[in-house]
């Protein structure tokens, strides 16, 4: 399999900021970060030491111009497969190296090369197309909210779930999984916010709290998805957005 060397070169140049350069050059691979890693805690292999995760990226910069497909595949497998970007390793690193930021940059390289893992890529495509990563239509979303609200009103007659209400204090967003597969969770959220007397609204356009663009390392897609929510929040004039999970 071949890849576009120009895109790779351009992306690597784009990603090579001040911090990436600094962090790649000062990591001594002392391995103290391992203590913070849940991958390492459950399976203590050298590949699960967080500083190992930046090695494929470092190799890419070291062998600039002579990168092979194999190196890119390793980069993809390591950076998508052995890190959740939780940043606990940074809290153990004596230098405070942002390994998650480097993993994010590495994913950005893989994404630019069209190497995003397929499950993630299709979720991201859904999000860009439908505004949520599980491709729930607006009609389905509204139906689900109404259904759960009716259920809730049996228990809490005054409960409400205002949709697109301008001037509310908070805009609530959800994990699409809670809408599509676990509506009971939506029920509980609504119950909680109603019981707490919070002044909130939902949005028919922007209710997905996840950002698979960010997770995939695809910065343009991440900005677009975040932009959806920001636009809705500004149009509804809310004070803050509450994100789930």
């Amino acid at each position: 399999m071949n890849f576009d060397a120009d895109i790779l070169d351009r992306t690597m140049k784009e990603k090579a900021g001040a911090r990436l350069e600094m962090w790649l050059s000062i990591c001594s691979r002392c391995g103290m970060c391992a203590e913070g890693c849940h991958y390492y805690a459950s399976d203590p292999r050298p590949e699960h030491v967080p500083s190992y995760r930046i090695k494929p990226l470092l190799d890419l910069y070291r062998r600039r111009g002579k990168v092979t497909m194999e190196m890119l595949e390793t980069l993809r497998d390591v950076c998508y497969g052995t890190c959740t970007m939780c940043q606990r390793c940074t809290m153990y690193c004596p230098h405070g190296i942002g390994i998650a930021a480097l993993v994010h940059a590495a994913r950005g390289v893989a994404a630019a090369m069209g190497m995003t893992p397929s499950g993630l890529a299709s979720g991201l495509q859904n999000a860009l197309e439908f505004g949520n990563n599980l491709a729930v239509t607006e009609e389905n979303f509204v139906d689900t909210v109404e259904w759960q609200l009716e259920e809730l009103q049996q228990e809490m007659p005054d409960a409400e779930a205002p949709m697109d209400r301008e001037g509310a204090e908070y805009l609530l967003t959800f994990h699409p999984r809670d809408i599509k597969f676990y509506p009971q969770n939506l029920y509980n959220y609504l119950k909680l916010y109603n019981a707490a007397g919070v002044d909130f609204t939902l949005s028919t356009r922007a209710w997905d709290s996840t950002n698979l663009g960010l997770f995939a390392g695809d910065v343009p897609a991440a900005s677009r998805l975040a932009g959806n929510v920001i636009a809705a929040a500004e149009a509804l004039k809310v004070r803050a957005v509450i994100t789930a999970e």
């Binding site: 600094m22 050059s25 001594s28 050298p46 405070g96």
Partner: protein, 218 residues
Amino acid sequence: MIRAVYDFATGPMLWFSSAFFLCGLAYRLVRYRVLMSKARQGLPADFRPGWALASIVHFLLPLNRTARSSPWSTLAGFGLHIPLLVVGLFFSAHVVMVEQRFGLSWPTIPDAWADGLTVLALASLAFLAGKRLLHPSLKGLTEGKDLAVLGLVALPLLTGFAAHQQWGESLLMLTLHVLSAHAVLIVAPFTKLTHMALFFVSRAATGSDFGKREVGPW
């Protein structure tokens, strides 16, 4: 012959290495600054100096979770860095040399301390190298370079200690000591040793980042 090398190494070369070392580190810092301001153009300033400073302090002192999770490595880290600084800057022979070449002077530590601290530093280096070679997970991560840097730092310590103890031929030891110290100064800006300057930058950056979420990265 050795005398000529020694005179050169403690004379003109001292100026060269010190200048190269300082300019090299300054270059790294300025480069960071320039790249950073280019990337942040048009973005609102959001640096948190208080959190940045706290982040540096928590790791200059063993006030962090790493000190608890990796106590031996932390001990070795301090056992290496404190002697390097204290002996490097305050050992009588070093101060005398700086006074002769650059005309500056400051107080010194007793020579016996320097011996003890050097042994501590070498023991710490041995521990760190041993951990790299023997620890089941670190073994796979270690590159030749990582050990080379440890070895390079050990050289001036070993030769300096030997010279002070008058082991072997004293002038030869001293010459090797000065030459290996030059080597450390010259490679410092372009190897992992750059952390002597960038440690502060990296800790500050991460401290500020975590601080925005009201969490200390320590």
